[in-house]
């Protein structure tokens, strides 16, 4: 499994921080997912080997936490909060807007490969509901108009790259 030098450096830096190696499972999985876009079974075995664990123990962790995924997603990761306050503020409509703007379905990769739109559980910003994460950025106080603007922004960024 080929990992970028920065990823390997990040991994080597993370492991000694913990009194017990096994604790480094999550930081390693974060680093590898960032590097490769997903966590394959090969990655699970690699991490297991690195930390002296069994592969099943790593797979058990990967499949427990929703952020760790074993499938590819679009280039941009959209997560719309669906828990009560955001739902009351119209989060479902925001999500629908995101889906329709990219002509895609929930949890799918959009036809242009640009986004995957998922629901997320409470993102801890209920006061500015509805909210969503676009990759690492939190967008607050959304409505369908703002959602469209964000979609336009994503599309223009896609063209630039």
């Amino acid at each position: 499994m080929e990992l970028k030098p920065e990823t390997l450096a990040e991994i080597e830096e993370a492991i000694p921080k913990y009194p017990e190696k096994r604790s480094a499972v999550m930081p390693l999985l974060h680093a590898i997912q960032k590097d490769q876009g997903l966590l394959t079974n090969e990655a699970a075995e690699w991490v297991a080997g690195k930390l002296g664990l069994e592969a099943i123990q790593v797979l058990a962790v990967i499949t427990f936490y929703p952020f760790f995924r074993q499938h590819r997603i679009g280039k941009r990761h959209i997560r719309v909060c669906r828990t009560l306050s955001c739902a009351m503020a119209g989060g479902a409509k925001v999500c629908d807007k995101m889906l329709s703007e990219f002509d895609t379905g929930l949890n799918e990769i959009s036809p242009d490969g640009e986004v995957t739109v998922e629901f997320a559980e409470c993102l801890a910003s209920c006061g500015s509901a509805p909210v969503m994460l676009v990759d690492d950025e939190l967008h607050e106080n959304l409505d369908e108009e703002k959602a469209k603007a964000i979609c336009d922004q994503i599309k223009s960024e896609a063209v630039e790259v």
Binding site: N41, A44, E45, E54, A55, I56, Q57, L59, A60, T63, F64
Partner: protein, 564 residues
């Protein structure tokens, strides 16, 4: 370990009980013959506390917060402060004054609730599930369940009938996620190959793709699985357990002598499972040891006696064998696979025949530190204690070989041992007359002048002595083939032809003689021997270089000699 006299008093459903401090309350209740139903608790595994079936009401004697003094009722008895919510009995260790209620309305309510929850996603598989008849979920549903279903939603779907390993089939829908199998693999076998993936109600037991549950203890997970999720591929769909008769037996695989239960119906064995013995094997046994029941109906089973290759009735074969043996210059090759009684009879026979040499064949393999010792004979110590031999046997019969070459030995009586495997050459075999008493065809039986078809350990009763010098008894499970003869009967009949005295021919009667002649056996009888066995005085043999290393309940007394 708590000292035996560190006893405290707990109260279960109004009954006082004295137990060692720290006793698990599920076990404490069992002493009073009260069953606290449970799934995930297992006395030999760590506490998981996840099934929640063992919820009981729990109370402790109250102490005044300010003064620290015990709070008392009006009648002077300690005031019990009951916890507002139920507590798991398996996670509760006995403490002085502890009170639990196992059959109060609250406790019963909890059980009904948990049972309902376990059943809502459980598939309606009883008619096709092997576990039926020995299924904890069936039992407890019947005892503690609501009796009707309120669940009208769709049940979760998970992988069914997957191959978890070469001997284990897994049905994930039936799994109640008790984690006994995971804990077993982690803690007992140190092979952490099982785990749960996904989360919540979608959690699924699995191996890593490409890996398997293949260790030599994989079938123990089937034994401890409280439902029909983990099943034995060998036993699958073969027989309903309520038809099976269960007989206590001993595993002959190695000198560990794991306690077993052999299940059979109408003369056919269907499976072997471990039997609990906290001094020998806990609740476990090897997978390979279970396979031994297949020798009963193996292709190469000797099903009839023969003389010079021709099938003969047993009585005639014995007469012929005696004729051969009385010609003189006999060597006896006994076996660590024989029972104590057979070895005792063999010793008597050797004496009557004035045998030139008496041998046993050693058999060694790798140990695993758990329940497989290096000694692949279950009963070498029986031969020592009966006096059949007085030193540890060799793997190869070199001494016998040279005696044959020199003409000192012209007749060999071999019981259960293939002489060519033990190192004798074709040539050497041709130099002697051979009487073979055994159960399966081999090079020796092919060359033998008389073949006495004997019985496997499953077809007779007896005792064996394991590495701890513990004598343990096994009982007949199925009758042998019609043309076979019971080994003890054959030996004693032959012996009778050479002696004025009648030699006892049954296990029961042989013990009278054993007890009379051997100091170590003096207080024992086959009847009275406990199913958990008894450790004998081995001081006379301590100097011998036994090779067994550490296993689950065995510590070698001295540095074990490395196996060659």
């Amino acid at each position: 370990m708590e000292e035996k006299d560190n006893l405290i008093t707990v109260n279960i459903d109004g009954h006082d009980l004295q137990v060692p401090a720290g006793t698990n309350m599920v076990d404490a209740a069992a002493i009073l013959r009260k069953e606290i139903p449970h799934y995930c608790y297992h006395p030999k595994l760590s506490i998981a506390g996840n099934c929640r079936m063992c919820l009981v009401e729990l109370g402790m004697p109250g102490r005044d917060r300010a003064t620290g003094e015990p709070m008392l009722n009006e009648d002077g008895s300690p005031k019990i402060m009951w916890m507002p919510g139920p507590a798991i009995a398996c996670g509760t260790k006995a403490a002085p004054g502890m009170h639990i209620k196992t059959d109060s309305p609250k406790a019963l309510e909890s059980r009904e609730a948990i049972t309902e929850f376990l059943l809502i996603n459980h598939p309606l598989d009883c008619p096709i599930c092997d576990q039926a008849g020995e299924c904890a979920l069936q039992e407890f549903s019947s005892k503690h369940g609501r009796g009707y279903s309120r669940f009208i939603e769709e049940k979760n779907v998970k992988p069914k009938r997957t191959r978890l390993g070469p001997r284990v089939t897994l049905d994930d829908e039936r799994c109640v996620l008790c984690s006994r199998c995971v804990r077993f693999c982690d803690e007992i076998v140190n092979d952490s190959v099982l785990g749960f993936t996904d989360r919540g109600s979608y959690s699924t037991l699995t191996c890593f793709p490409g890996k398997e549950l293949a260790n030599n203890y994989s079938l123990n997970t089937v034994d401890i699985c409280p439902v029909g999720a983990l099943t034995s591929t060998d036993f699958r769909f073969k027989m309903r357990v309520w038809f099976l008769t269960e007989i206590n037996h001993i595993d002959f695989e190695t000198s560990v002598g794991a306690n077993t239960v052999v299940s059979a119906r109408e003369g056919k064995i269907y499976r072997v499972t471990p039997r609990r013995n906290d001094e020998v094997n806990d609740t476990w046994m090897t997978d390979s040891g279970r396979e031994l029941y297949k020798t009963v109906e193996a292709e190469d089973r000797l099903t009839a006696c023969s003389v010079a290759g021709d099938e003969t009735a047993a009585t005639e074969a014995i007469v012929k064998a005696s004729e051969i043996l009385q010609k003189g210059k006999t060597a006896i090759v006994g076996s660590g696979q024989c029972s104590v009684e057979e070895q005792f009879a063999l010793k008597a026979l050797a004496k009557s025949l004035d045998a030139v040499s008496v041998n046993l064949v050693a058999r060694y393999g790798e140990d695993d530190g758990i329940l497989m010792s290096v000694d692949r004979n279950p009963n070498v110590r029986g031969a020592l204690m009966t006096g059949l031999i007085d030193t540890l046997p060799e793997e190869r019969l070199e001494d016998l070989g040279s005696k044959i070459d020199s003409g000192e030995v012209t007749i060999v009586l071999s019981v259960k041992e293939d002489l060519t495997e033990a190192g004798l050459s074709e040539e050497q075999l041709s130099k002697v007359d051979i009487v073979y008493l055994g159960t399966h065809r081999n090079a020796t039986s092919e060359k033998a002048d008389v073949v006495l078809a004997g019985l496997t350990q499953f077809e007779k009763s007896g005792t064996v002595i394991n590495q701890q010098f513990r004598i343990q008894k096994f009982n007949r499970v199925v009758p042998g083939p019609r043309g076979c003869i019971e080994d003890l009967h054959a030996l004693s009949t032959i012996a009778a032809n050479f002696s004025d005295e009648k030699f006892p021919s049954t296990v029961g009667s042989i013990w009278k003689q054993l007890a009379g002649e051997n100091r170590q056996f003096s207080e024992l009888s086959f009847q009275s021997l406990s199913d958990q066995g008894q450790v004998l005085d081995s001081s006379a043999f301590e100097y011998l270089p036994f090779r067994e290393g550490k296993s689950l309940h065995f510590e070698p007394k001295r540095e074990s000699v490395a196996a060659e």
